[in-house]
């Protein structure tokens, strides 16, 4: 075996002499991504081709699903990641378990943690850091500028809405068994609702929790926002109208039920600008906003 290896080394040395210098250095590193929004950013930067693996939360764009899956973000298999022979690992700070991350850091493969903060600035930072790790600064700057202009536009629209005209929004995460799981304060939908110039009527609740029926009626949301359940019949406008509490809110009575793609509203990624503008349009249809410039 030792002889075979020295032969291989010799071959590699000969190849290096023949090939133009730098041909190998230019090949983008084989990359494993741990974190759904990071995967979205990598794809948006046009670097999807260099991905060789992903965690289970990296499911958008759908083409990523064809890549090997190394497990859920918090239950990543260290050997699974190493088996893909990555040359670069880009990870969310939440990646785990700790023991697996320690091994990956010790493996000699560059392990880049991209900071995470649930804010407009946070998304820009995330894009910039990811682009730097991939040496795609120009694409990163362009993407960041686009997201920033969308967020700025949304902020301008939100600022134009007087405080007392802000609509109350309730984000319904699930309706399993009639229990209404809502997005309270500190959740991504909460941030998006605020950025879109509305107010989250469940903001007093911390995180994703079940809201009691009476509190829902008392909160009287003007709009109900829910993720598009696709085949899930439990997540439909009809289910909202039939619900004993949700059905008696101003939102249900007037039919102001907004559906949004779950991946768009649950993660703070490069589509955050699209999401906020979409929500702003949905909460305040053009007719309500008066004459447009």
């Amino acid at each position: 075996m030792a002889a075979a290896r020295s032969l291989r080394h010799l071959a590699a040395a000969l190849l290096a002499l023949i090939l133009p210098a730098g041909a190998q250095a230019d090949a983008p590193p084989r990359t494993v991504v741990l974190g759904g929004t990071l995967a979205e950013i990598i794809a948006a930067l046009g670097a999807e081709d260099q991905l060789v693996g992903r965690d289970a939360t990296s499911s958008w764009p759908e083409s990523l699903l064809a890549l090997p899956d190394v497990g859920y973000l918090r239950a990543v298999s260290a050997e699974g990641v190493l088996s893909l022979e990555p040359e670069l690992i880009i990870a969310d700070p939440g990646a785990g378990p700790e023991a697996a991350v320690d091994v990956l850091r010790a493996s000699g493969v560059p392990y880049v943690t991209v900071p995470y903060e649930r804010s407009a600035e946070g998304v820009i930072d995330k894009i910039t850091a990811t682009a730097a790790a991939l040496h795609r600064e120009a694409e990163g700057a362009a993407l960041a500028a686009r997201v920033r202009s969308q967020i700025d536009e949304a902020a301008a629209r939100a600022a134009a809405i007087p405080e007392d005209a802000r609509r109350g929004v309730l984000f319904v995460m699930s309706l399993q068994g009639g229990a209404v799981m809502v997005g309270g304060g500190g959740t991504t939908p909460d941030s998006l609702i605020t950025m879109a110039g509305a107010r989250n009527v469940a903001a007093a609740i911390d995180g994703y929790k079940v809201m009691t029926d009476e509190a829902i009626i008392a909160a009287a949301p003007d709009v109900i926002l829910m993720t598009d359940g696709g085949m899930d019949a439990a997540m439909s406008a009809a289910a909202i109208r039939a619900h004993p509490a949700l059905g008696h809110t101003p939102a249900a009575e007037r039919g102001d039920i907004v559906m949004i793609d779950g991946l768009m509203v649950l993660g703070f990624g490069p589509r955050v600008g699209d999401a906020v503008l979409f929500l702003n349009d949905a909460f305040y249809p053009a007719a309500d906003r008066g004459p447009q410039p």
Binding site: M1, A2, G53, A56, P68, D69, V70, G71, Y72, L73, R74, A75, S77, A78, E79, G80, V81, L82, S83, L84, G94, G96, P97, E98, A99, A100, D102, V103, A106, S107, G108, G207, Y208, K209, V210
Partner: protein, 347 residues
Amino acid sequence: MTPAGVPTGRALAVLAGLALLVALAALGIGATRLGPWRLLAAIWGDGLSAQERLVLFNLRLPRLVLGMLAGGALAVSGALMQALFRNPLADPGIIGVSPGAALGAVIAIVLGGAVAPFLPFALSIPALTILFAFAGGWLAVALLSRVAFRAGRTDIASMLLAGIALAALTGAATGLLITVADDQQLRDMNYWAMGSLAGATWARVGMAAAVIVPVMALAPLLARGMNALALGEAAAHHMGFRVEALKRRAILLTAAATGAAVALTGGIGFVGIIVPHLLRQALGPDHRLILPGAALAGGVLLVAADVAARSLMAPAEIPIGILTALIGAPVFLHILLRRMAAGGGIA
């Protein structure tokens, strides 16, 4: 008083051979290309690359050792409980050790971040989880002992019922914590509950060994007593055994071993039922054989299940608790049906 014809040494040697085979499989099978042949070449002196060494010594080896220890601990605990209750369906889960340890772990996962700054020593959340799981298991046993050891007697029926009440209580407390947990904590709890050897590090292996190795060494000392208990408590008493002391020791060993296994590997169920059952089928009811046998066979079963858990869906992993439950629950039903067919019940 070895019954004639029981090939004690041979049975244990066969189990040790099985353990060796499974260990080689665990070291030679995995998602990376470090296969059995490469492994043999490495033993032969052909050097491994730095990354291969990392996979071998920091991933597969600690995982193998943790699996051997945890599997052995669960199986020995099961064998002791079954002897104590004279019931092949008894399991550490029943006397409340596993639920107690689970509650401790969940408390650490959800509230650990808030508690950690007030501790006199710095601890990461995973380390805190282990500590709390130990504490939870012990606390459960202490509570149960108050209920069950009255006037110097151990009342098995009260203990079983108290175990059920304790499991319900810890379930409720866990449920309460779930409602205040954030998204990431929920996921952590979920994966912890399904059990895994994935978090194996040498530090954790050390913690497991510190508790489990002494238990494995001490358990066979109770074997004669356990054999006597099989004939009934009165009979054991007349044979000269101090029945109460015997029961207390068995319970303490179970609490320690189960607490350590649950703390370090999460909710891995049914090992304590499958392994002693198979051993009794193969080797007969002598605990001098069953107890050391369970220490080996439990490890063999868990490590084999772990090889499957990390290869079947590679590069991702299946939580190992799912696999042990898939194998264990049918075995449980099988034992139950056979007992009912023989005219017995669960008690």
